[in-house]
């Protein structure tokens, strides 16, 4: 359970985020969506205590992310940023084993090894354990990083654009695995997604940000509407239903029906 109270963050004079109040209930997959610069990643990194808010409080699983002991926090919430470049040369197993550091402080017990093996298996990395990260494809490497975060075995998992740089097949497979992690392992997963259609297809809940504020939040059915998306992204968006999925279509603004586009003009006021 994540509670965000009156959090805001400024960069120089401009407000990057907030004030934001938000509660994210335990379990399920929550997607943060919004245009570039909306504050999605800022919000996620503040919750993941990689960035201190200027004001406000964030609590995850009852712990205040600024004041709680880092070691205790690391057993409750883990975060994976988009860019991960390491100086050291690591094998997949070494990387995933780092996820056990909060629990074992580096001395892996049998239980830790089991957790590492489970995470490797969960992300289909068996057979790659002894490969170095720089010997992997982008998709495999991304899976290895997610496996590390899952091995950390925290209740809350925060992922900043886990689909960046993945092709269609790998992006869909990654979302499916995250869905499984939420369903089978009972994780609370919060992720920033660039493509709203992935959020629509896999998330339980979508939170839309624009200009540093939460402008809409709800189930995919509630958010995946032409007027809501057009307002959030400030561009004409149509929503079609296909095979039970709601899909945003926005590739040619001039081809979006006027009825969908009208939401933009009225809603973008705020």
């Amino acid at each position: 359970m994540i509670t965000i109270e009156a959090v805001d963050k400024h960069y120089r004079a401009t407000r990057a985020l907030g004030p934001v109040d938000l509660e994210i209930a335990s379990g399920g997959l929550t997607a943060l969506v919004g245009p570039n610069g909306a504050g999605k990643s800022t919000l996620l990194t503040i919750v993941g205590r990689l960035l201190d808010p200027d004001s406000g409080r964030v609590r995850v699983g009852g712990l205040d992310v600024v004041t709680a002991k880092p070691r205790e926090l690391a057993k409750v919430v883990s975060i994976l940023k988009q860019e991960n470049h390491f100086v050291a040369r690591l094998t997949v197993r070494q990387l995933v084993s780092f996820g056990r550091f909060p629990h074992s402080q580096g001395r892996l017990t049998a239980a830790d090894r089991e957790a590492v093996d489970r995470a490797l298996a969960f992300l289909d990395l068996e057979g790659f354990e002894e490969r170095f990260l720089d010997e992997l494809s982008g998709g495999q490497r991304q899976r290895a990083f997610v496996a590390m975060v899952l091995a950390q075995d925290t209740e809350v998992v925060l992922l900043d654009e886990p689909l960046a740089a993945l092709d269609m097949r790998h992006a869909a497979a990654m979302m499916q695995r995250l869905r499984d992690a939420a369903d089978e392992l009972g994780k609370t997963i919060v992720l920033v997604v660039h493509d709203v259609n992935f959020a629509s297809a896999y998330a339980d809940r979508i939170i839309a940000l624009a200009d540093g504020r939460i402008v809409a939040s709800g189930t995919p059915e509630e958010i995946m509407r032409p007027e809501v998306l057009s307002a959030v992204f400030d561009t004409p968006v149509d929503v079609v239903e296909h095979g039970g999925q709601r899909l945003a279509v926005y590739y040619r603004p001039d081809a979006v029906p006027a009825a969908a586009g009208t939401g933009s003009a009225s809603a973008s006021e705020h």
Partner: protein, 345 residues
Amino acid sequence: MSAEASVPTVGAEASARPAAAATTRERRVPLAAIVAGAAAALFAVGLLVWGNPVPADQPGFWVIVQSRSVAVATIALVAAAQALATVLFHTATGNRILTPSILGFDALYTLMQTALVFVFGMAATQVEGVGKIVAQSALMVLFATLLYGWLFSGKRANLHVLLLVGVVLGVGFGSVSTFLQRMLTPSEFDVLAARLYGSIGRGNPEVLPWAALVVAAIAVWAWRRRAALDVIALGRDAATSLGLRYRREIVVLLVVVAVLVSVSTTMVGPMTFFGFLVAIMSYQFVSSDRHGQVLPVAVLLGLATLLGAYFVMQHVFAAAGLVSIVIEFVGGLAFLIVILRKGLR
């Protein structure tokens, strides 16, 4: 894509495999550690007994061995301090190009020594003993921590900017030192020079045990923290997510590096590329980048390199004074090669 393929139960059969699977690509004791350790021991013994003018069965033999042991211990300490300092510095800064010396740690030491003599005159040289060395080291550590702690924190931590700032600071410290030295009286300058350009031949047996204690304590500390050091090397975001107080860890590491550099510089004067040479060699030779492997290999390689260099220069070329020049030459070449091959990363 099918959910069935990735259910966690698959992990049960994977975990049935022996835990040794984790180490198939890393040896428990790296080969490089064994070779370097043996070479270091060989050169140390060689330096102690080789070319001893007194036959081994006479008591005079051991007198000479004893007097040489000060030099050997000094070499060993400096090598260990430089190796540890460079590897820890690389870990703290998240790069493998910069070294404490390139960023002006040595020049800072020189400046502080010069300033001490400049401000307090000959009085600064009257006080001798451990207390003064501790006070000097404390000052050095304070300055290095404030300066580099500030440099490495926050958004400024761009490698190119750091390198530039570090080099400029280093040169700046050097110039200020030179300026202050010009204004010293010849006798003060003489005292200062003796202190700045320490050499292995003029090892100070009084300081040696204390320096050894400091280096040994840091080595033990680093060894016990090796798992945390591995995590720190992952960088700020990953280390924080894994529960470390990253900023505090970095400051502690920089303090430790400053202590090691000041110990080494106190004993033999500035060395710019030796630590770098040893560190990149150990990264090449170990099969895994874990600190549990890199740190011992770096220390042993440092010992083997410096002891070996002295042995060869003393007994083959009869030019022991040139050791630091040769090492700096080779280290500088290695530095250029690494920069040209890998670029600033």
